[in-house]
Every structure is written in C-alpha cells, then in structure tokens.
Symmetry: C2
Subunit: 291 residues, 2 copies
C-alpha cells in the first residue's frame, strides 16, 4: 500500500499532537487531537505511540512533523538549510521504516550571527502556498512566532520571535500576573498596546505601565489585552521589516490569527488567513506527492 492509497499525517509538537487519516482522495477522515506531545511520551515510548495511532487511524504510511524530529523528540532529523522547498524537504525525510514511517526535517537559517530554526512550520509554510502567491511573507503566530519569507515557492529566510513565550512568562510568573488574568482580545487596550509596539517601543519599557496604571487607579480595562498588543505590535514591526508589501499570509490558530489580524490591520496591512491545520495537511500532501 503506497502513499496514493492514503496516509496518516501527524503534527507532533512539544505538548500537543494532532493526527489525521487522509484518504486516497486527499480528504481527512478520522482525526485525533490529544496531549501526547513529545514531553508527555515516556522514554522509549514513541514506537508504541505510533503503533497505537495506526490501530486507531488505519495501518497506513505515516509522516511525522514538528518537535518529534528535535533533539528532545524521537529521533533527530537534521535541518534542511534555507532556501528550502517541498523537494528539498521531501528528500531529507528521516526514514524510521523506509517508505512507511518518516520524520519531516526542520529548516534552518545560518548566516553570520543570524541563526534560526523551525520544526513543523515549514510544512505549513509550503502548504499555505495553495492559497497564497509564491512570493509572500507568512506570519505564523505561536509560542515562538515565525515570519517566513517565501520566494518562488521556497522558504527563503525567516525569523523567530519569542512573543508567545514572553507573554506566557509574564502571565505566569511576573509582577504583572494579577493584571494579566483575562484572555487577550482585540479591544481598545489591545489596540493601544499594538500602537506602542508598532512605534518601536521596547516592550519592557511600556509593560510596567500595566502595573503603574493599576496602582494609580487608571488600570486598563483588560491588562492582558494591552500586554498582548504590545508584544504583538513589536512582533509585527520586526516581522514586517523582512520586506514586501503584499497581503500577509496569516497561518495558525484562530484565536492568535484574530489578534494578529487586528494588529496587522493597525499596521495598514491586508491578511489572508489560513487555518494551521489546513496548511499542515496541504503541506504534507505536497510531500507525499514526492514519495
């Protein structure tokens, strides 16, 4: 049974896992979303985890992408250097069972001090081109947001920002935590934060205002919105500096897309939104066509 007869695509992250059974028409049948990210699989447990997925989704060939191929995952799949396209990524799949079970490599950028890596977003980036022109700037928000410059359908270069992780650290551990309890929303506080971030203000300079305004009885309606807006505004400013003036391909989770779309609108930029799962499935589809 080859890839044309259907396959299983797994987006295997640090904390979460999504597995899709794809049929011979390319349609998704059963789908599993669970918390069996690489950190939640016991040492030596990946073989059994894959067998279990096959029992549930069908005994088919399987591609795994994301942190599963990192040095903290199952086996380390060496990075493919930029510029990278679907051909280069498919050629460098790390085969665990030849032609039956492979790990998609990440993509790296290595130039002087500019060094960067991605694992998982490369599949979504090539897949997103189904809905985007071959020369596009893609924004992929997340714990580590990625801004990816696509040129002629290839991942030309990219940049990672610790935007989501910083927000999570502030929310969980900082002196601002009591003011960051709400869920950020694209409201007026968010807009004020975005404006400050887009203006080039280092977030650390405006963040303390969340606490100071609270202490002075002038608190934000939603402090989390302001802080999120500030970090996202700074993220967008850095991302847009990678160039281009067309619509931004905004790929990822719907809640984060809503925030980034609001921020990008504030920056005067159009967006084409693509659900992360759709981009992922399209990307894995492109890879299987090459197998």
């Amino acid at each position: 049974m080859g890839w044309r007869d259907g396959y299983i695509a797994v987006d295997w992250g640090t904390t979460n896992r999504r597995a899709y059974a794809v049929d011979r028409q390319g349609a998704v049948g059963r789908e599993i979303r669970d918390g069996h990210g690489i950190m939640n699989v016991p040492a030596g447990g990946f073989e059994e985890a894959v067998a279990e997925l096959r029992r549930q989704l069908g005994d088919q060939p399987m591609l795994l992408a994301g942190m599963i191929g990192s040095n903290r995952g199952w086996m380390e799949a060496p990075y493919v250097p930029c510029p990278a396209d679907a051909d280069a990524i498919a050629e460098n799949i790390l085969w665990i069972e030849p032609g039956r079970l492979g790990i998609v490599p990440g993509v790296s950028l290595a130039a002087d001090r500019e060094a960067d890596v991605m694992r998982g977003e490369e599949v979504q980036a090539i897949g997103a081109l189904r809905w985007l022109p071959p020369d596009t700037l893609i924004c992929h928000p997340g714990t580590h947001s990625k801004w990816i410059v696509m040129r002629a359908g290839r991942i030309d270069h990219f940049r990672t920002l610790m935007t989501g992780e910083l927000f999570a650290l502030l929310k969980a551990h900082s002196i601002l935590a009591p003011q960051l309890r709400d869920v950020p929303a694209p409201d007026a506080s968010f807009d004020a934060g975005v404006a400050a971030g887009l203006a080039g203000e280092a977030p650390q300079a405006a963040l303390f205002g969340v606490r100071a305004r609270h202490l002075l009885g002038k608190g934000d309606a939603n402090g989390a919105s302001f802080a999120s807006g500030l970090l996202i505004g700074a993220d967008i400013r850095a991302g847009l500096s990678l160039g281009g003036n067309g619509p931004i391909g905004l790929v990822g989770r719907s809640d984060l897309r809503a925030l980034y779309a609001a921020g990008l609108a504030r920056a005067g930029r159009e967006t084409i939104e693509i659900a992360g799962a759709d981009a992922f499935l399209a990307g894995i589809g492109l890879l299987t066509e090459r197998l």
Copy 2:
C-alpha cells in the same frame, strides 16, 4: 533626641533590607544587611522588626524607604506626584511615631497613558545630586530599572523598564534557560547584544537566536551575556530617548553598574557612577535636614 543627634536609615525592599546607623557627623556606624524584605516579615511583624533594629542599632529616630511603604508593605504611604523634590518628599513622610518613625513616600507620574511609580529610588535620586549637576538623566538599573530626569534638582519625570525581571524570567523559566546559566559579563557576547538592543531591535526578535545558534553549533561564548546585553541595550535606548546629552548618573549595585556602564559606553555616553548605598544615605540625609 532629634535627627541632628543621629538616626537610623532603612532601605526596605521586597526581598532585602539594609539598615544604617548614622551618627551626628553623618557618618555610618553599624550597618545591617539581611533578607528581611517585606515579603519575609510575617503579617503584623513590622513593629517588632523595627524594635529589633533599634535594639541593634540604637534607640534613635528612623526613616524607612522603599517597598515598606507599598500596599504590600507595612503601611501605604501615598505617592508624591512629579515633579518632586526633597521638600515635597519630606513633607509627605507617613509618620508612624510622629517625628520618630516615618515611611518615605514613593513618587508617581500620571499623565494620560503615561503612568509610572517608584518607591525607594526617589531617595537615591535626590541623594545622587550630591555628585551630579541638578539637571541630569539618572539611570538606576535593577529588577525594574528606572530612568529619572532630574531638572533643577527635582524628579521631573521618569520611566520604569522591566529589564531585570524579564532577564530573571528568561533565566528561570524560558526555553533559553539552559543557555543562560552563566553570570552575564561585559564581554564580546554582551557587546553584540547591546548593539542589537541599541539598534532598536525588539528583544523578543533576537532572543531566540541564543537557542538557534546553540542548536546549530554556533552558540554564544556566554548566552547570558548576549541576552543581558540585548535587554540592557533596549533599556538604554528607551532611557536615552528621555533626552539630554550630558553624562548619565549611573546609580545602583556595582555588578549592574558595570554592565550598564559598558552599554552606555557602546552608546557613546559618559557615566558618573554612584553606589546605590551612598546615594541612599545622601538622600536620607537631605530628608532629615528638613525634619
């Protein structure tokens, strides 16, 4: 016994406390440095803590400054609004025992969205003027660094940055933690970080490079130095935007002064360094002259 006969000055912070017995010549006699910051004093325990200080340092009048006057301290001493000088601060001391035991108020800034507060640094700022011209930009590095614009000897306005706290969060809880184990030093990695921060790069954009370079075998000699330099460079950029072109009064702990002095030199600025304890004692001295 009045203030002219000697007094006790206490810099009472969140986690640490420093108490100094000052004699009638203004010289410091015994000094206590301990971990009895406000978070480490049991509820209702401040009266006894003060009595204990008097047993050790002498039964003298006493001024307490810092977070002891916050809503998490002993009693809340309302902020004095900017612009504020030694007169305004002395007039607004919160007396617990009239004329014998007082809490120095913090200083606030409240203008539109610009809101800020300080507690403790105001004493060091007015005290630092013993060594600085009356119109000076003061940099006070710390968990929450403060840049303070002094005009005609008054605290005119100021800005707080969460620089030290962000670094601590990254070191303790982030994905970069394994690369941030060393103590930051003003080395080549630090200098590269400062250059990126001064250039206006949002720290979240360059921070991930610490991890990416490590994964690609091009790691910084000292990742902590790079990350610290990046945050301090961004801090200095924001601080210098408050204006002025004279030497910067650099007030605080010697280890942080060394890092900021290196960063400010990179930005082409001269510094006049003043130990935080010296500035604090000079500031308390100015207040007692008004009592």
